[in-house]
């Protein structure tokens, strides 16, 4: 993995690898994958585990909401916000 990869790229890579159906249909940034059934309850847990490992963020149960996870775009925005928050706390 290279530094130049964006958060969105890295999440996309994970989803394409983990959810075979996504590979067949392609994956648009705004595609609502919860509604289309591409990712289900258990899939979300896999995704959360990945985000925590990959981006060193802590996802609380209160943040496990459709708004934060409904699309690639939403997940990327959520991770960015988490990173910004922890950076500002650290400084």
């Amino acid at each position: 993995m290279t530094q130049t990869q964006t958060i969105e790229d890295r999440v996309r890579e994970f989803v394409l690898k983990q959810f075979p159906l996504a590979r067949k249909n392609g994956l648009k940034p705004e595609e609502r994958w919860l509604e289309s059934g591409l990712i289900d309850s258990l899939g979300i847990l896999d995704l959360v585990h990945f985000l925590e490992e990959e981006f060193k963020v802590q996802v609380t149960d209160e943040e496990l909401l459709p708004d934060n996870f409904q699309s690639l775009q939403a997940v990327a925005a959520f991770v960015r916000a988490k990173q910004t928050n922890s950076a500002s706390i650290a400084s």
């Binding site: 067949k24 289900d40 309850s41 979300i44 847990l45 149960d61 209160e62 909401l65 459709p66």
Partner: protein
């Protein structure tokens, strides 16, 4: 007298017309409203040509129309076939062709994906479509669900069905082949509702959250018990465990049934379940597999005023056993004892009763033994056999259900699950036939050999591992293989692990040696 499925609804409409019957998001329907829409739908289905005994598929996500359709088809004297919303067009086609489906109730958003398969279902005459959307050009007659529900029923409703008539077909998998349709009579479903509502002590104050799909016997049973007793059924579409907790609080839910996977999600360490007092929650029930002991412990600590009922059932006999909450401390690993008006026998291979502690096959006798599998007389004869314990003078007057589950019984009649007699896989409550998954793997055209087994998983019960042998000299991308599978099967059927082998282990007769594959995994 109430002996048909829709009579349960009719009686509650008569008794408490203004009582809240069905809730989904912002939609709240009284019994009168549910009864009116059901009667409208039944009237329209008859006008569309439905005759007594015709099979009507219901392929919808959890929704008000899904519930209305079950009772509407029943009132019109048709047979309803609930199709799990997770299934993909290939499986829908199999079910529709297998049962000779005459009509299908589905949503506008699902119709697009079905266009290709609809022309391959010769028996299908009409579609009833829920919601707005562009109707694609299909060969069948298209009706609007809303128009159907608005129809005015005749003053007197004529029906000649009796309780022995076929009411529903639930599709489920076994150890081989494609899903089979378990035939349930009105008597089966009504008896199941009365038995379960008795031991769960369900009353009209009950507010039940329906998380399980109605294509599962336990899910359908929840709907029936709620309507039989005049309680309230709350529907939910969820992805996050937290959404369930929110509805439990907001709707003051008193009863919740789930499969082990759901409880594992709710018992995660930082789950919001522990942050909300759920004083209304009177009982929870588990079915579809054993609840992991660690999860059970968390739930009991978190939900101290809630009764926990562990249950067991198989679609072929609807509901079989339950563990009363007061027994939970003494035998937390038991699957319980027979439900009321039911006898569970543990039989050895000679058809004799096993002694206490001796392993044998669970055999169910009682009013919920189904009518067998649709159009599969041989498999029916294997699952439903004459009761071997009756005196010969009685002949073959009673059929009992052989479950394929190995169990043992203690000297107080409590049962303990040991394992399956066959290779059927169970994952997150779903029964999966290994051969159906293997067939899809072969359909990719990339393989010379394929065999799948279930391997234990903490959350899902089992997950699927596939062993595959590529065709000679051809490179194989396991990712591409899984992608093709995912197109043709729901996610719970797609193998989680794939291992490429140069040969599959074989028995002396040349068949795949499944025990050898399991030994490889140290199972």
């Amino acid at each position: 007298m109430d002996f048909l499925i829709w009579h349960l609804l009719r009686e509650s409409v008569r008794r408490t017309p203004d009582k809240e019957a069905l809730v989904h998001g912002d939609q709240r329907l009284s019994y009168r409203e549910v009864g009116r829409r059901t009667a409208g739908l039944a009237t329209s289905l008859r006008a569309a040509g439905l005759k007594r005994g015709d099979r009507i598929g219901i392929y919808l996500e959890a929704s008000v129309p899904q519930v209305i359709s079950i009772f509407g088809v029943s009132q019109s004297e048709g047979v309803y076939v609930p199709i799990n919303a997770l299934l993909r067009p290939e499986q829908v086609m199999h079910i529709a062709r297998d049962c000779g489906m005459k009509g299908l109730i589905t949503s506008a958003s699902r119709l697009g994906a079905l266009t290709d398969i609809l022309q391959q279902i010769p028996s299908l005459e009409f579609l009833v479509v829920v919601g707005d959307g562009e109707a694609s050009s299909v060969g069948q007659k298209l009706y609007r669900y809303d128009d159907f529900c608005d129809a005015e029923p005749p003053a007197a409703w004529r029906a000649t069905s009796i309780e022995n008539d076929l009411a529903a077909i639930l599709y489920t998998s076994g150890s081989t082949g494609k899903p089979k349709g378990v035939m349930l009579s009105h008597a089966n479903v009504v008896a199941g509702s009365r038995i379960v509502s008795t031991y769960l002590e369900i009353s009209e104050t009950e507010r039940i959250l329906a998380v399980l799909p109605f294509s599962f016997d336990a899910g359908m049973n929840q709907l029936m018990t709620a309507f039989e007793k005049g309680g309230t059924l709350v529907l939910i579409n969820f992805v996050f465990a937290q959404e369930i907790v929110q509805v439990l609080v907001k709707e003051r839910i008193t009863g919740l049934a789930g499969v082990p996977t759901l409880w594992s999600l709710l018992a995660q360490p930082n789950s919001t379940l522990s942050k909300q007092p759920l004083t209304h929650l009177r009982y929870i029930t588990n079915t579809g597999g054993a609840m992991p002991q660690a999860v059970l412990k968390v739930l009991r600590q978190t939900l101290q005023s809630t009764k926990v009922f562990l249950m067991y059932g198989l679609t072929e006999a609807f509901r079989s056993t339950y563990l009363p909450p007061e027994e939970l401390d003494r035998r937390p690993t038991s699957m319980g004892k027979a439900i009321p008006d039911t006898e569970i026998l543990v039989l050895n291979d000679q058809g004799q009763l096993c002694k206490a502690g001796e392993p044998g096959e669970l055999v169910h006798r009682g009013p919920t033994v189904s009518l067998g599998y649709w159009n599969r007389p041989e498999e029916t004869a294997r699952a439903l056999r004459p009761n071997p314990l009756l005196p010969p003078e009685m002949g073959d007057c009673e059929k009992v259900c052989y479950s394929g589950d190995l169990v043992k019984m203690d000297d107080e009649g409590f049962l303990y699950f040991i394992g399956r007699r066959d290779t059927m896989i169970k994952s997150s409550g779903f029964r999966i036939s290994p051969t159906e998954v293997e067939e899809v793997l072969f359909q990719t055209g990339k393989l010379r050999g394929a065999a799948v087994i279930g391997i234990p998983d903490e959350v899902l019960g089992q997950v699927i591992k596939a062993f595959v042998v590529p065709r000679d000299g051809e490179p194989l991308s396991t990712e591409a293989l899984l992608a093709t599978c995912a197109e043709k099967m729901p996610r719970y059927m797609v193998p989680k692990f794939v291992e490429v082998l140069s040969e599959l282990p074989k028995t002396s007769s040349g068949k795949v040696d499944y025990p050898a594959l399991r030994r490889r995994e140290e199972i």
